[in-house]
């Protein structure tokens, strides 16, 4: 009985260690993705894409219509 418990403990410990490593790995990956998102959301990046790839231009005037 004690032996079975011991084996189970060892196996759970190993699983625990593996999962911890996986968490760290996913956290790192998440950080990398967050960084990529932020780099792509940089306004100069958006403006360049809008102007060069999407054919957009800056607004000249805005007409306000009185309600």
């Amino acid at each position: 009985m004690a032996l079975v418990l011991n084996i189970k403990t060892v196996s759970l410990n190993q699983k625990n260690q593996f999962l911890r490593k996986k968490i760290i790995q996913l956290e790192d990956e998440n950080r990398g993705l967050q960084l990529e998102v932020e780099e792509n959301l940089a306004l100069n990046h958006i403006e360049t894409i809008a102007k060069t790839q999407l054919g957009m231009s800056s607004p000249i005037t805005i007409n306000y219509i009185h309600p």
Binding site: T9, V10, N13, D28, R31, G32, Q34, L35, E38, E39, L41, A42, L43, N44, P59, I62, Y64, H66, P67
Partner: protein
């Protein structure tokens, strides 16, 4: 045996001596050297794993991340020989773009078996080194500071060193809060160095660094940097700064400086923030301070008429105007016109009427020559010479912003007090600090001081500033539909040795705020040494206009006449 009693005695003696020596040695090791060997065994039995905290992030006012951290690896070379296999060195130097001779030289100089190759590898570098599966090359997991928006607000954010220690800007000022506290795990290990599952385990968790939430607005900072760079290149200027502030609470919405730098790139780091560290002679923008003091002391009213000649001789100095008068133009000017047309002689006459003492006291009450206390390192005090050091002509020169040096942050804070009807608000770049779980730890309070100026004075001055933009030198800053108060400035640049002024070098500036009644935005534009045109009205005021137009469009601020009509309805 009976035949050898002497031998037997010698043998016994020898054994006894040996036993005594052995006992003494054991006693020495167990009692006298007890602590030494206990420590040694602990070191051998226990394994210490350091847990590094994550450096805190820096955000803009809308929680847009401006400084983040990324997991990375540091690579090292470990070799018993001073000259490891040539092939390895060649491959490593190719991947990391290092000089192979340099690596070998470093190994020989340090005479060691360990050498850092690169502390913060890029993803590609790490992948390539890993793929090559090189002997003698090892990796340690580490963290790298990353600025996802590159040059964005780099003078404010600052940068970090190789060990992620803050070396400039907010990174340096708040390094203690950002860096966090390292933790450690102590494990018992077997003779092969593997942790024992049943062994003792002591853990001290790491505490991640705190996050900083700044007052910067991503959009306003972006347009400020963009238009500043455009203006610098268009006018072939040397450098420039823009500050955008909310005069109601002192929040710095943008702080841009050119030349700028990318804090992700170790080269070309600019270590100071010119918006708070550099001083300049403000020129005609400073007339606002002189007029505020003169109006408050009732030396003038906006309608006071003065006879203003084209030139004024004071001691051995001739004060003149930047522009020649048109034929038949009257020399009788109201105070309001003097400000509108930015007349140096008129302002000098007003300051002479005011007197040195009142002018000096007034300047000091606007906190010129004092630190503003903004949460950034290396702020300069500016230069206001003590009254006793003023020469006879200084009163006139200082009245129009020459012979006095201020920092851009001092200038905008002083004019913000005018916009705020006499309430000086301490500028702040940091809103609050949170812990790693985003729970607020400390909020930076808004600090307001009522200056010894009448509210009426400030209202009058604001109306005069409005006229500057409506019909004076500030027309290029005018945005249709919005009430804007402002002032242009064109000042001579002092020589670096402090003796006289550089010929042909000027600082063009413009300061303005809107809406005049209750301003939400005050913008200071400084363009240093422009070559195309030298005037604040031609170089800096159009930049103010561009920023203002973008702000009203982006934040959907309707023109004031529409707002008023809506209120009536």
């Amino acid at each position: 045996m009976k035949g050898y009693p002497l031998r037997e005695a010698y043998l016994k003696l020898g054994i006894i001596c040996f036993m005594i020596t052995l006992i003494l040695r054991i006693a020495y090791l167990q009692i006298i050297e007890h602590e030494f060997f206990k420590t040694k065994s602990t070191i051998q039995l226990k394994r210490l794993i350091k847990l590094y905290p994550h450096r805190g992030y820096i955000f803009d006012r809308n929680m847009v991340p401006l400084a983040l951290t990324e997991s990375t690896y540091a690579s090292f070379l470990i070799s018993e020989k001073l000259e490891p296999p040539e092939e390895i060195i060649k491959t490593v130097s190719n991947i990391l773009k290092l000089d192979s001779q340099d690596i070998l030289q470093k190994l020989q100089v340090t005479k060691g078996s360990f050498l850092w190759l690169k502390r913060q590898l890029s993803k590609t570098e790490y992948k390539q080194l890993k793929e090559n599966n090189l002997k003698h090359i090892g990796f340690i997991k580490t963290e790298k500071r990353v600025y996802p928006k590159g040059i964005f607000a780099s003078h404010v954010l600052g940068f970090v060193g190789i060990d992620n220690q803050g070396l400039g800007g907010l990174e340096h000022k708040f390094d203690f809060f950002l860096r966090g506290t390292p933790g450690k795990v102590i494990l018992e290990k077997d003779p092969n160095g593997y942790p024992l599952l049943s062994g003792e385990k002591i853990a001290f968790p790491p505490y991640d660094g705190n996050h900083l939430v700044t007052t910067l607005d991503e959009f306003i900072q972006y347009i400020s940097q963009k238009y500043l760079e455009e203006a610098i290149l268009e006018n072939n200027a040397e450098k420039g700064q823009i500050i955008v502030m909310n005069p109601q609470n002192g929040d710095i919405l943008a702080m841009a400086a050119y030349p700028n730098f990318d804090p992700n790139n170790e080269e070309n780091m600019i270590k100071k923030n010119p918006c708070i560290s550099d001083v300049y002679e403000p020129g005609s923008v400073f007339k606002l301070i002189t007029f505020a003091i003169a109006l408050d002391n009732e030396i003038i009213t906006p309608k006071t008429i003065l006879q203003v000649p084209e030139e004024l001789k004071l001691k051995n100095v001739t004060i003149s105007e930047a522009h020649k008068r048109t034929k038949g133009e009257s020399d009788m000017k109201t105070s309001s016109e003097i400000l509108e047309q930015s007349l140096n002689v008129g302002t000098s006459l007003i300051s002479i009427k005011l007197g040195e003492e009142k002018l000096y006291e007034g300047i000091k009450s606007f906190k010129i020559g004092e630190l503003t206390g903004i949460e950034l390192p290396a702020e300069s005090k500016g230069l206001v010479r003590p009254l006793k050091n003023w020469s006879g002509v200084d009163i006139a020169m200082i009245s129009f912003g020459q012979g006095i040096a201020v920092t851009p942050i001092q200038m905008i804070s002083a004019v913000a007090a005018i916009a705020n009807n006499g309430i000086y608000v301490k500028p702040r770049i940091l809103q609050y600090m949170t812990n790693a779980n985003f729970e607020t730890l400390k909020a930076i309070p808004i600090s307001k001081i009522r200056l010894k100026f009448k509210e009426k004075t400030m209202h009058e001055l604001k109306e005069m500033m409005k006229n500057v933009v409506e019909k004076g030198t500030g027309i290029p800053a005018k945005v249709e539909g919005y009430s804007i108060a402002g002032k242009t400035g064109t000042s001579q640049k002092p020589k670096t040795n402090g003796l006289g002024y550089e010929s042909g070098k000027y600082v063009a500036s413009f300061i303005g705020f809107f809406p005049v009644e209750k301003p939400s935005y005050i913008i200071l534009v400084i363009i240093d040494s422009p070559k195309k045109s030298i005037y604040g009205s031609m170089v800096a005021a159009p930049v103010f206009k561009k920023i203002t137009k973008d702000i009203v469009q982006h934040f959907h601020i309707p023109p004031e006449n529409l707002q008023k009509n809506s209120k009536i309805k």
